[in-house]
Amino acid sequence: MIHPELQDHYELFALGLADEPERSEIREHLNRGCEVCMAEMRKAIGLAALVGAAAEPAAPSPRLRRRILASIGYERRGFGWLLVAAAVALAACFAAVYFSGRENQYAEEATALREQLRRQAIDLTRLNEAFAILAGPETTVTTFGAGPAPPKGKVFVNPSQGVLLIASNLPPAPAGKAYEMWMIPRSGNPAPAGVFQSQADGTAMHIQRGTVDMAATGAVAVTLENEAGAPQPTSTPLIVAPIAGR
């Protein structure tokens, strides 16, 4: 068989479709190195490769490359695992810092909440104490501060509950100073009855728990003293509220 007659069979051969006797004919030519058949077969294989290249594109897993190289005993001692380990370590550091920061934040928030709760509990206790004095049937009331500038307010004295002072126009004490309430006896030295601060708006509420000897007490006074308080008044009273004796 001559080459022109084989023309249509090279591609069939390349695809594994060649029939006899052409298949044997081509095989024989190839085995003896026939340049014409070799050239035609290269074209046929090229054509088949084009058909194969038209397959829908797909991607193998990244592991396949390593598998193939490992199968010939070649495994790159690269930085792949090192990079992965470094990335994991870095992520762990970020997580630690992040969660540590969050933990600190939560701790600070918890502290603030606890402080707020503590203040509210104190305020509630004070309000309860104030209410007890206000509601007491034996409570007496004294109003002080008639003019526009001086502190104004009321003093409530209950012989069994204590003294409640409610004031306004009482500016915040200077730094290091505080207001101190005094129980002024009809005779003898004033007795300290606790220090307090006024609010930014000039209001203040102070409670001194305990029994009050109404007969012996002549007045309730307030002076400006050092923040720690003083055993005896050291300044002119800002508030003096006489108490009606029994």
Binding site: G16, A18, I45, A49, G52, A58, I68, L69, Y74
Partner: protein, 195 residues
């Protein structure tokens, strides 16, 4: 974008002689480069045949190992390694199909068609960025029966008798479709397939 690796693979004959020389010197890095160039193409082809990604990866591995072990017979001056590798890939896949389908294995033909000495130099001056589109256009020009016959032959490795049975057509009709289709492809892509 999925086509990009394929286009790059088929457009990179530069340095191929050097790559083949390094493969023949058993340079493992050269096999890595060969995989980077043709791995996805081989996988796509094999997957089209076997329809199972895991099996396809096994067969891709076999393909590259076969090329690695037989590259000594490859003559870089007479062809390009890509079409040879694709032929090996296709034959590994077809051989797998036949072995699992209980079909007759004509391994001799498959083996002969992938002899390294027959490698085509199809890439070196013809495969360019629109090559895939040209191939697809050429396939689209075939009649449905012709196209099916070519695909059954190429991607399923059916013999013409098996195709006739599968398609429910006389053997002579199928043979005509196959020949007509191959001529048509040759005419459409002929300038792309040098000797």
């Amino acid at each position: 974008m999925m086509w990009l690796p394929i286009l790059l693979a088929l457009r990179m004959p530069e340095g191929e002689s050097d790559l083949v020389a390094r493969l023949q010197k058993r340079d493992p890095q050269a096999l890595a480069e060969l995989y980077d160039r043709y791995g996805r193409l081989a996988f796509s082809l094999i997957l089209r045949v076997v329809r199972d990604a895991g099996i396809a990866e096994d067969l891709v591995q076999e393909t590259f190992l076969r090329v690695w072990n037989r590259v000594q017979a490859f003559e870089a001056g007479k062809g390009s390694i890509g079409p040879w590798l694709l032929a090996v890939a296709r034959n590994r896949a077809i051989d797998y199909l036949r072995s699992t389908g209980g079909r007759e294995r004509n391994a001799l033909d498959l083996e002969e068609s992938v002899h390294p000495a027959l490698a085509s130099n199809i890439e070196q001056d013809l495969l360019n960025s629109d090559r895939i589109r040209r191939v697809k256009a050429a396939m689209d020009k075939l009649s449905p029966n012709q196209r099916q016959a070519i695909e059954l032959a190429y991607f399923e490795g059916l013999s013409q008798s098996e195709m006739a049975e599968r398609m429910g057509q006389p053997l002579g009709t199928v043979k005509t479709w196959v020949r007509t289709a191959l001529r048509s492809l040759r005419d459409e892509l002929g300038t792309a397939v040098p000797a």
